[in-house]
Amino acid sequence: MAAKTANHKAWWLVAPVVALVAFNALIPMMTVVNYSFQETFGDNVFFFEGFKWYEQVLGSERFHAALGRQLAFTFTILVIEIPLGVAVALAMPRKGIGVSVCLVLMALPLLIPWNVVGAMWNIFALPDIGLLGRALNGLGLAYDFTQDPTSAWITTIVMDVWHWTSLVVLLAYAGLRSIPEAYYQAAKIDGASAWAIFRHIQLSKMKRVLTIAVLLRFMDSFMIYTEPFVLTGGGPGNTTTFLSIDLVKIALGQFDLGPAAAMSLIYFLIVLLLSWVFYSLMMRNEER
């Protein structure tokens, strides 16, 4: 047997990727790490502060409140968007011209720039001039998302559902389409009920794509910034100030670079941790 020859030339092939990742991810992140452990008053003068900023962020009421709002928001939109997406996918036609029509309609919200979505809903929902706002007030509802926290929350959630349910629909529809016709026939021959077909064939065949859908929607909604920023600017008060909006306020509004850096890293770790928990929970289900 020939001796294994070491050939390190292959590393050169990987080098561009390593350089790219270093510049767009690692180096900026290390800057953040750097800030998170130090105090600066400008002029590139730094004082080492250890874990002070981390302790400050983790102990602050403000962070807890923003995290709580973030969790509540993400949980709510997942609970609405996933079942709604599956339901819409099930209701979509399986063949004919309707398929293309539905797919294009579904893809539309996904093609609109995020800040435009925010602006659209802002104008749409304004209580004095917006179509939705005027209509609701005309019905006698006290609706004003600029003043009333409940209105603001409902509007933000409806906007997100409008914007992102399509993604779940498209994924679920792709999952549904991949089920061979024979499964439905076999179930029909068995005399299985519509519920049994959904539960034992459609849902279990969609498991994999739904895992992806939940993960994508979780990560995206947990980092939501643009749409609520344009819609409500985090208000009224702080009631729709989610983590990323709060982070920008601290970093750019107050220019507290140390706490902002510490918060960034904590934020990042939370997303990473929750994604991992989600993923391993769902994959364990998958394998069982």
Binding site: A182, K188, I189
Partner: protein
Amino acid sequence: MAIELRGVVKQEGGQIHIHETNLSLEKNAFNILLGTTLSGKTTLMRLMAGLEKPSSGRVFFDGRDVTGVAVQKRNISMVYQQFINYPNLTVRENIASPLRVARVSAAEIDRRVAEAAELLRLSPMLDRLPAELSGGQQQRAALARALVKDSDLVLLDEPLANLDYKLREELRQELPSILAEKGAIVVYATSEPHEALLLGGFTAALHEGRIAQFGPTAEVYRNPVDLRTARIFSDPPINTALVAKKGNTFHLNESVKWPVNDATCGLADGEYRVGLRPHHITPMRRGEGSIEVMARVLVTELTGSESIVHLDIGGHRWISQSHGVHAVAIGATETMYLQTHRFMYFESDGSLIAA
């Protein structure tokens, strides 16, 4: 018990999938639908099952018209080429599922599931999920699901096509005896002639949405009514050529000729299309009526147990199939023997006139 198709036609969007078909299948026999892909096997099965409604014609079950009756009310089971099981249920629950729908008592379900699992050698795998089984075991589970209920009609649509060779052989041997105990009408679709021969029973040869011939399998194989049936029922493909009858001799060309026999002496002089199955061209003299021909070797396919050799015989590209491994060089000229007693003679419209 019998299922009967009377004048059944299936037409979809101006295209005829099944031409007017009359067919009666009895229980306690393997009924085979033999044909190439798109010959209409699956459509015919779906019509029998009631998964599709015929465009015209009626379907009778035991003399009862069941044409419009929904599939779930017909007490049938079906096994597909793909391995179809509920992915999130264990093998046990999969097998039990038709019984649960039929509201059979728990004790009875346990008994029958155990019985079906025993029959298909799935007992050790009852608590696994389908994805944890091999392809052969998954198909066994699907078969068990089809057999666990007392169906009147069991439809098997190329159930072995996706299995590997060894498993296919194994299940093919077991299937007839497993199904024989059911007392149901069994319909089995296949595209492989030797599978039909191995399974026996009755065969309906399908060609482009028509039943070319129906009868006992061996009978259809030996006496095809026409060239189409002979083609459907021959793998490797049957060898054909135009020959001229002059007096008491058939001429393939100048040098290859053979005398008439009892069956063919009455034919008028003229041109006939002949068919000769590949295993009737052999490298050794076999049977009376063998004639010697010189053949140039074009292609050879040697499997472990047989040799398939493509030959140029008098300008015709013919195939010889023989037992054992006969190493022949490509391009070489070999002496081969045609068993002229085995020639089938067809009229210009394709119907058989002598064999």
